[in-house]
Subunit: 415 residues, 2 copies
DNA sequence: CCCATTATTTTCAATGGTTGAAAAATTAGA
DNA sequence: TCTAATTTTTCAACCATTGAAAATAATGGG
């Protein structure tokens, strides 16, 4: 910590502690909150009163236990008090999704945009703001928690020496925030693969399948990307480029990559590389490989040798990359997204070629490779989860209690 | 955070804030501490009084500024109040080093031990405790801050399902703590490569060369190992094996490794692999390759082709590994330790073969590869730094103030 | 030599937070 | 109706930071 702590910080932390307990453990009484958090009954009373004043928590009625004593009054999260808006910007579409704090987002609205993949910042900000204002109506009593914008492509952080590639998060966030005059709220600009990884990690945790402290995510659809989650938080790296493992080398003398190097992972597991290896490169149009992918799926089902060989080749490269991930960051769970999730049955033999020898050396290390459960909407779900986590981590951002009432509306970038 | 915050936590955090400022910015007055930390003058007065009561800070006299006004009374860290002891356990030796808080450790005392590399825990604990009690005399008024034991080999954390390999940190820490009856203090058991990385990162920061948030360390001497430092802290991974990158694959079809896989980094950059490739494998005795290494150094100086080729081969593999590190965790600084530091001039061409194409794609990313400044004592210096950081992060562990006075003496493992 | 000025440090009441014990509330069972 | 049991609230106490005022200790000028 670099800033001094005071009683307000204590209050903030304990409010978050109580709110998270209520969110995680369903409707529960104050006593259970006290037992679960380590706080004393008196403190829980005061903290819950604060959360109720902010509209984040409400009493749902008395529990009918049949036991003696004063009945416990159950507390519940008010899901619709705070609304998180997620935006996914791909090369061709802007998709908007909103959700309350309940964790079950509604449907997504998709709009076409005509900005280039790295087009002018102002044009992109216009398009995003228009999509948001169109899709998210203002409602009374609803606090707009956060607008999380997931970009397909590198997102760099607040550095003076911009690498020139990718989106400058603070800049784009500020541009969009300016254009949301009516419903101003904090704006985050993040990478979509990071958000997809977050979604998958939350899904694993929600399913009771503890993903552990370090989770790696690899996906291949429009491009190859990945993300690293360490202790439940995304690892950004020095330039916000962590997890961009499309161009990690998996062999010393491999095919030439468009990036100039050789043997990049992209040259093995990208959609184009797999289609080419399967002899289906001709079927894929520049921006629509749907037909070719469908044909690949059919040939895999019918065990066509060339299709199988293409996925074996990809699997071996992916296995090497996974082995690097495990050795480097000691992840105990690798989640595959995009087409890799669909292809997993055919990739696994190739992956095992790499992983089994290591497993023989460290027999009891339970590293699991699993397919992601989300489809193309993974990034949206992850962005919703990120916004929700922000509110749960600092309830004082919602007005109504004694503390500060949601003032900061500037764009920020750190999730 | 999972435990509630109270006024004691506020006090702890602000004490650490003040102490760190005094430690980092040399002798300075209370006003400067207030300006640097964001605390108010009144708070600084109270906090400094607490630190003085604990013996961690003292007034060094008035500053002779010649300016008008009440003269500032300079505060200084008391270096000898807290003593950190570091132990490095290699396959053959136990080395002990102690240091105060000043940052300039004294000489190291080395003892031979006759435990196997993964010998019985009790025997190793006996040897370590004996070395410590022999090397570190008790002194009045000196608080033993922490005993940090850096083990050459994998160190696993508190998990029920022990992988069987490596040292179980809590167990060994408890065993050693039990044997230090006279001078009980908290014991940490950590991996030596992690500590070496920490030492190098501290050295870079101390030299004014900001290493950034993510630093990777790779070394090769008795074995190939590495470490990852994220935001100044060691990344352990799910099983405490992060950074063990001796067995990450750098190519799809490489030489067979003793671990059972093929193409591991070890098969390219280990001391034995380099000596073999240079045609010097016969000179190396099983446990002493000193003569062979000296001969390799001579041949490199005289540009003997086979020696140069061996290091080019190693450099290319190392470049691929570095490229993987950069792509995966986005480190902006790679530090090479062990023999790699000595060999760097001859490794660099091979490394550049891998890194330059990527640099062409991301021209302004300033990723630096640099040799470590520490020799074999790197782990000891890092362990000292880790112990020092612990005290600076929680001064209430030192008795004397109002808060708790250094009670917990059990073994722990998390650095 | 004395006094105004200036800058640092300390003191002190006020505020806000958690805590522990006691009191109040509310129901089941005798 | 009364007692026991359990949850919730109230209240005095304590501790930490804060802001303003007071104390401290030098310099520079008359």
């Amino acid at each position: 910590m670099n800033i001094p702590a005071d009683s307000a910080a204590v209050r903030r932390g304990n409010l978050a502690l109580v709110l998270r307990h209520i969110a995680d453990h369903g409707p529960c009484a104050r006593t259970e909150v006290a037992a679960g958090t380590g706080l004393v009954h008196a403190s829980v009373t005061a903290l819950v009163a604060d959360l109720v004043a902010r509209g984040l928590v409400e009493e749902v009625g008395a529990a009918v236990t049949g036991a003696r004593g004063r009945p416990r009054r159950l507390l519940r999260l008010v899901p619709e008090r705070v609304r998180t808006t997620a935006v996914h910007v791909t090369w061709e579409h802007i998709t908007v999704m909103t959700a309350g704090l309940a964790g079950s987002p509604g449907g997504a609205r998709q709009l076409a945009h005509h900005q280039g993949p790295f087009g002018p910042r102002e044009g992109m900000a216009d398009a995003i703001a228009a999509a948001v204002t169109e899709s998210v109506p203002a409602a009374p009593g609803v606090h707009h928690g956060r607008l999380v914008i997931a970009m397909a492509g590198p997102v760099t952080d607040a550095r003076a020496d911009d690498p020139g590639r990718g989106w400058h998060a603070p800049e784009l966030a500020a541009l969009v925030a300016d254009r949301l005059s009516g419903q101003s709220c904090p704006v985050d600009v993040v990478n979509d693969a990071n958000m997809a990884a977050l979604a998958e990690q939350h899904a694993l945790a929600a399913a009771g399948d503890d993903p552990g402290g370090t989770v790696a995510y690899v996906k291949s659809d429009a491009g190859v990307a990945g993300a690293l989650i360490i202790n439940g938080r995304i690892h950004h790296g020095s330039y916000g480029l962590a997890g961009e493992l499309g161009h990690i080398p998996v062999t010393l003398d491999g095919p030439a990559c468009r990036c100039g190097a050789t043997g990049c992972l992209t040259t093995y597991i990208s959609t184009r590389a797999v289609l080419d290896a399967a002899g289906l490169g001709d079927l894929a149009a520049p921006h629509d490989s749907g037909a070719a992918l469908a044909e690949l799926g059919r040939r895999l089902q019918s065990a066509e040798p060339r299709a199988l060989a293409a996925l074996d080749r990809a699997g071996r490269a992916l296995g090497a990359a996974i082995q690097s991930i495990i050795g480097m960051v000691d992840a105990e769970r690798i989640v595959l997204g995009g087409h890799l999730a669909e292809w997993l049955p055919w990739l696994l033999p190739g992956i095992k070629v790499r992983m089994d020898p290591r497993r023989a050396a460290f027999p009891t290390l339970p590293v699991a490779v699993s397919p992601g459960v989300f489809g193309p909407d993974a990034a949206l779900h992850g962005a919703i989860a990120a916004g929700r986590a922000r509110i749960l981590a600092d309830p004082t951002a919602v007005p109504g209690g004694r503390g500060s009432g949601g003032a900061s509306c500037a764009g920020s970038a750190g999730i």
